[in-house]
């Protein structure tokens, strides 16, 4: 098992070229999966016996919520790798993740509120999942705020990496305490996100959407990563042909 494969992942020129080459391989499959998922979710899937067609919001809410958490964990893992082994590319990945994760956390909040309205009668009902999502948004904002606050790029990378790791340790604790807090004051809300007995016609589109969004995230990450890698590279020779192209 030669380690050169892993070693190449840490070298900026290889990563830049690899990212440029791989982007379409993730972008197009993502588009196909999402379109298929939308078609399945909006047209083929039967309406929910309780919420009628209102439940179809799940096809955008669940993937957004999944993205918000998956992207944060990806950010924290790459931040930790960058911190421990001092790999600039890992910090570039973490920096690329933040805006993507934050925007989809916002999407999850809005779609969640829009879904909650018909069921609860109000847009915001301090449902434990949505409250945790809101706190996650603040974690993203804190991360991006810290990164913006520090001028020196290398120090910004390493300081925000510590915050990302501390944040990811706290995410489960926050979720547990919010759920615990919610169960004190109200009966658990009736919002069933992923119903266990979901018929295949409903479930399949959801899985397609989750796959599509994940592929879309990787494509986006690869685009942003090229920019972040360039920003961290001093006037190295390989930049010359890449930039002038």
């Amino acid at each position: 098992m030669n380690w050169s494969w892993f070693h190449r992942l840490a070298s900026p020129p290889h990563v830049y070229a690899l990212a440029a080459r791989l982007t379409p391989w993730f972008a197009w499959p993502a588009a196909v999966a999402i379109i298929a998922g939308l078609w399945g979710g909006l047209v083929l899937a039967p309406p929910d016996y309780q919420q009628g067609d209102g439940f179809r919001i799940i096809y955008v809410h669940a993937p957004s919520a999944w993205m918000s958490l998956m992207v944060y964990v990806t950010m924290a893992v790459s931040a930790a790798v960058g911190l421990v082994w001092r790999i600039k590319v890992a910090h570039a990945v973490a920096a690329s993740c933040a805006p993507i994760g934050a925007s989809f956390t916002f999407a999850a909040l809005v779609t969640g509120a829009l879904w909650g309205q018909p069921m609860w009668g109000t847009y915001w009902q301090w449902d434990p999942r949505l409250t945790s999502e809101l706190v996650l948004l603040f974690l993203y904002l804190g991360y991006m705020g810290l990164r913006a606050g520090i001028e020196d790029p290398q120090r910004a990378d390493r300081a925000s990496a510590v915050l990302a790791v501390v944040g990811v340790v706290n995410v489960p604790i926050i979720h547990y305490s919010v759920t615990w807090w919610n169960s004190l004051h109200q009966a658990p809300s009736v919002m069933r996100l992923a119903k266990p007995a979901m018929p295949l016609a409903m479930l399949l589109p959801l899985l397609l959407m989750l796959l599509g969004f994940t592929l879309f995230f990787v494509a986006l990450l690869l685009v942003r990563l090229r920019g972040e890698v360039l920003a961290r590279e001093r006037a190295a020779s390989w930049i010359r042909e890449v930039v002038s192209a």
Binding site: R86, D152, P153, R234
Partner: protein, 208 residues
């Protein structure tokens, strides 16, 4: 106890676009002093901070007794004293209190020893006044008392003679000479150079 020596190989460090350390190389044996000269901004402070492990070089290594300092940084820190160009003193404490806390964190320190160091730097009559009320030269002397209380193999001094009168500069010369005589090493970033009384000094010029 292997003979202490400090080897610095091919140090490169950038601050953003500015290539501050451009391939610094030197080896320092026991009892030797290295004078680092250069205009402002030529990287003297950055070099000292890289030597002690505070700053991280993009390329190159610092070896202590043949071993990369990054292997066991705390052990390397136990063998060195770093004095920045600002004496690290709390202005709301007296000189004596400052030393008691600062040096006490690193070694057991008796009152007698502390008093002796204060006397040595000419501080007995003002060492119980708040540092806030002391002049820059007096503050520098308190920092020199601290260095005198830490007879460790490697001293990294950033412009130790600033704000000092001639008598103060001689004091720095004496302290460095004693350190070299007991087999220690000194790397000093200086503007006008250390007093002539110091022997066995090699000069390293950092181009701006």
């Amino acid at each position: 106890m292997p003979a202490e020596r400090l080897e610095v190989e091919n140090l490169h460090l950038w601050r953003g676009e500015h290539h501050v350390l451009r391939g610094v190389n030197f080896t320092l044996a026991r009892g030797a002093c290295l004078e680092v000269c250069g205009a402002n901004g030529s990287g003297k402070t950055t070099l000292l901070r890289t030597l002690c492990g505070l700053a991280y070089p993009e390329e190159g290594r610092v070896l202590w007794n043949g071993e990369n300092v990054r292997q066991d940084l705390p052990a390397f820190h136990e063998a060195l004293v770093y004095l920045g160009h600002e004496p690290p003193l709390k202005s709301d404490l007296t000189a004596r209190e400052n030393l008691h806390y600062w040096i006490g964190v690193r070694r057991q320190l008796g009152e007698a020893e502390l008093a002796a160091a204060l006397t040595r730097v000419g501080a007995p009559d003002w060492c119980d006044r708040l540092v806030r009320t002391l002049s820059a030269g007096q503050r520098r002397r308190v920092a020199l008392a601290a260095v005198a209380l830490l007879p460790l193999p490697l001293w990294l001094l950033d412009e130790p003679t600033t704000n000092l009168d001639t008598e103060g500069r001689e004091l720095v010369g004496d302290l460095v000479r004693e350190q070299l005589e007991r087999g220690g090493m000194v790397v000093a970033a200086v503007h006008q150079g250390l007093p002539q009384s110091v022997r066995n000094v090699t000069r390293l010029e950092l181009a701006a």
